[in-house]
Symmetry: C2
Subunit: 193 residues, 2 copies
Amino acid sequence: MENILFDFISKYISLSDDEKSAVVSLNIFRSFKKGAMLLKEGQLSVEGYFVLKGCIRTFYMIEGEEKTTEFYTEMEGITPNCVLNKQPSEYYISCVEDSIITVSNPAMEVEIFEKFPKFETLCRILSEQLLAKKQSSFDDFKTSSPEQRYVNLLQNKSDLLQRVPQHKLASYLGITPQSLSRLRARIFEKSKE
Amino acid sequence: MENILFDFISKYISLSDDEKSAVVSLNIFRSFKKGAMLLKEGQLSVEGYFVLKGCIRTFYMIEGEEKTTEFYTEMEGITPNCVLNKQPSEYYISCVEDSIITVSNPAMEVEIFEKFPKFETLCRILSEQLLAKKQSSFDDFKTSSPEQRYVNLLQNKSDLLQRVPQHKLASYLGITPQSLSRLRARIFEKSKE
DNA sequence: TTCGTTTCTTAACTTAAGAGAACGATTATT
DNA sequence: AATAATCGTTCTCTTAAGTTAAGAAACGAA
């Protein structure tokens, strides 16, 4: 299980056995069942999550409706907003599938950054790249119609279509489940011609 | 001019005179006129930008139309995607106003991170916070109607309404200039009742 | 000043999204 | 097996966004 993580890290920096065992000794690997709740609105959590296997989602409760805004699958992670600004969380995080996830906290980071500054470089690089990626996704979202966004999803993250119920994808696309259903039918009609 | 930057940095870490002069000696401060182009589509730039005074914007050219996706004002910065992934830029960056901007590159970062690891911590923290903020903005965008997004802008970034021509704000809100004009009229009608 | 460009608004028309309700189909629970 | 909950689709109605076109107002440069 650790190896999944180390394989990922090795893409960015090389780790000595010392450094690997320091990570292992943090005891951060956890298993969760589908539907398990990692974070609830209002909570003052300090936990960061990184998905080794499975899928988790963030969602807001707005007027009694779940609004799913992001999915995190293999080798993707999130440090919730509430951890960084020390405010009650505005959203929920739950498991879309049975998942294996690393659960860490800022104290662990400080500890390991001090022992091995290399990890801070890793985190900086990852953050910078994630930020650029997020901006790019946001740009795509702004400059696309709902239909284009769905086609885009089909092309770039088609695994989500298999793994996630459609109505949860709808809010991810910024539309209602009904609109998504219609839009799919529309695309299907076009493809028949 | 340097002091604007150091005041900002002092919110996160404290700098010795040594460290400050190391920054100054990098010679990164630049002035630009309104309309000046910092980055063009297709370019392989390595420059990162941080706005000390003024305003810059990123925009795409899509079917002959400018699509503005982000604005950066005082104490906001961007490392363009193309710098990180070493690919030709997909977008333009230009000055909305006369601006004072720091222009840096990865080589400078490496140099200063090695001398003063403190700066890497600063960059990591800033990246993490920006990422969380960006996600939050994206979430708001997804869960709001164009009208709500405009009202939101009014409340949270009203300075942009004064500084930026409306049609450039429209694509930032993910709509056409005509829609923004209508939507404003609609809000104005409502407020009269 | 004049001319041209930029900026904003308005209108008519087309298209699609939101809201509400209803209906099977599938899945989960008892 | 029966019942309930979840999920996707479809329908109608309403509202608003996209498109195209036109024109007025503000701004800048020659």
